[in-house]
Amino acid sequence: MKLSLLHRLLSWAVTLLAVTAIVFLVLEILPGDPALVLLGPDAQPDTLAALRLQLGLDQPAYIRYGAWLAGMLHGDLGTSYTYGIPVTELIGSRLKVTIPLALLAMSLAIGLALVLGIYAASRHNRPGDYGVMAVTQIGVAIPSFWLGMLLILFFSLTLRWFSAGGFPGWEAGFWPAMRALLLPALALAVAQAAVLARVVRAALLDVLGEDFVRTARAKGLTRAQALRRHALRNALIPVATVIGLQFAHLLAGTIVIENVFSLPGLGRLIFQSINQRDLMVIKNVVVFLAAIVITVNFVVDLFYLAIDPRLRHAS
């Protein structure tokens, strides 16, 4: 177990390093001159030269890459060109929106998916099952940003239950803040829930056909008890994989949804930074988001070890 843990930890670190390399390559080498990216094509030559010096662009690429990594290890991601404050500070303040949003969306998605998936599996090949499958098929096809717009149209503009966007900040209190996150989280969650519900259903049906579920029934457990106590935990293994993969989509989805609802999160930050050509922010936020995705998948790996004793004892 220790060995496999070490192995996974190592591959996590290597992947993370590869992410920084790719981001550096795409954002600093590919465009040719980052200073030109920052200032735009109309920049004056002397401003460009000054900026190059300020950014250390006269140094060779590998030294700049090394300096970036070293800074990262010290928690120093540089200073935003447009905001003039440290990028870490910027990310930190934006995370207060994005992380709660992503977690809320993920919980909504998991909750919805479990309810729909378990219901469909228990009604296998009956109208209830077909109904759920049809709903999920449509759920997958709905663009999250469009769903967000529909939610605004219905709940904000027509019913006036929620504001059409914006974020009051956590200073305004927990519930007002959550209220502002609910519609965006729902818009993000529906497509993920649809995918996940299908996975839950398929995994449950796989497991429900297994002998040990029949054993459980022969012990006198009802169908529902057998499903809850024996099938569900075994079915969680494939479900967890998909949840891990979905988290990546969800995080990427926040970039879109935060723009629909004008939420001051990481997604909106990265989007604004593109318009403002704030390379320093972009490269660090991209690495940060990718790092979260990789870390979540790493945690899912650990989760396997916890849930499946067979993996724990495998040498």
């Binding site: 296998h124 297994e210 002998d211 040990f212 029949r214 054993t215 459980a216 029934r217 022969a218 012990k219 006198g220 457990l221 009802t222 106590r229 024996h230 935990r233 075994n234 849930i307 499946d308 004793p309 067979r310 004892h313």
Partner: protein
């Protein structure tokens, strides 16, 4: 009154006109302390018969007729009443111990589950009883086994666990579906001995499903031979082994020595295969593989008495002394 009394049991796939009977009109009984065997090739309906007693037929299959257990008709019981009987009054032992156990739950928890479900025992009490059960089935180091996962055990040990699970609530009827098929020969021996001891000790009835004539001969007192969903012969095991009546039983017995020569199964040694349920027409199902078949076999034979306690379904047998001609 026998413990288990099955009368005119039909098991069918599907509904309405397209329904097909996979088990047709079988009747048998099992008394307390008695071991009754059902012998047949795979696909003959013997396992389905066992599952119908528990009310656990796969989806799409339904049973009709009468299955009386302790005087109650199981086929007319609701799901709740059936759940109260399963694992409590009727224990089931499965063929494949590798898959019959939940891979993510400890052995101890799995055995304790029926105890907690049916006897209202608390966690600690159930654990103590589980330990006791593990001792009874002669598992080496029973205390450690409580917290072990199935994949950490050998096949024979797992099957002992499955047996302990079936025994947990001291059922009056045990159903064992090919309990030794998945095991090595030496382990088979031990498991069979264990089952014999347990039946002797608990006086529960045992319905033993097997395709193995050796197992049947050793374990059972009475046997039903099934072919293509019907009983072709039944009677005391000893009589059937020494003097089989039905051509199918005879063919089975003739095929036994060939196993010793290294054939995996004796199936190949009888020419032909069991007709699939959808291909079953009228008449004796065995006639296409039978050396005695004649024109009268186009009509399905009834079970005709063949001496005390014995019946066989064949038109072509010579009359036997003491039997009443049909």
């Amino acid at each position: 009154m026998p413990l288990l009394d099955v009368q005119n049991l039909f098991i069918r796939i599907g509904r309405g006109e397209s329904a097909i009977d996979v088990v047709r009109d079988i009747s048998f009984s099992v008394g307390s302390g008695e071991i009754v065997g059902i012998l047949g090739e795979s696909g003959c309906g013997k396992s389905l018969t066992a599952f119908s007693v528990l009310g656990l037929l796969p989806q799409g299959l339904s049973a009709a007729g009468q299955i009386k257990f302790d005087g109650r008709d199981l086929l007319s019981l609701g799901e709740q009443d059936l759940c109260a009987l399963r694992g409590n009054r009727i224990g089931m032992i499965f063929q494949e111990p590798a898959t019959a156990l939940n891979p993510v739950q400890t052995v101890g928890d799995q055995i304790a589950e029926p105890l907690r479900l049916h006897t209202g025992m608390g966690k600690r009490e159930a654990r103590a009883e589980t330990l006791h059960l593990l001792e009874r089935i002669h598992l080496p180091n029973p205390r450690a086994a409580l917290d072990v996962y199935p994949h950490q055990m050998s096949g024979g040990q797992r099957q002992r666990v499955v047996i302990a699970m079936a025994l947990a609530c001291r059922p009056s009827l045990l159903i064992a579906d090919e309990p030794t098929t998945a095991l090595d020969t030496t382990v088979q021996r031990q498991i069979l001995d264990l089952l014999l001891d347990l039946v002797d000790e608990t006086k529960s009835g045992l319905l033993l499903i097997t395709h193995d004539i050796g197992v049947m001969a050793e374990m059972t007192e009475r046997v039903l031979v099934m072919y293509g969903g019907v009983i072709v012969e039944s009677g005391p095991t000893e009589k059937i082994i020494t003097d089989p009546a039905h051509p199918y039983t005879r063919a089975l017995l003739r095929a036994v020595p060939q196993r010793a020569l290294g054939y995996d199964t004796w199936l190949e040694s009888i020419p032909g295969t069991v007709p699939a349920p959808s291909e079953r027409l009228r008449g004796c199902l065995f006639r296409s593989r039978c050396s005695l078949a004649g024109p009268e076999c186009e009509v399905q034979p009834d079970l005709i008495p063949r001496g005390p306690d014995r019946v066989a379904a064949c038109w072509r047998l010579p009359q036997v002394d003491g039997s009443v001609p049909a």
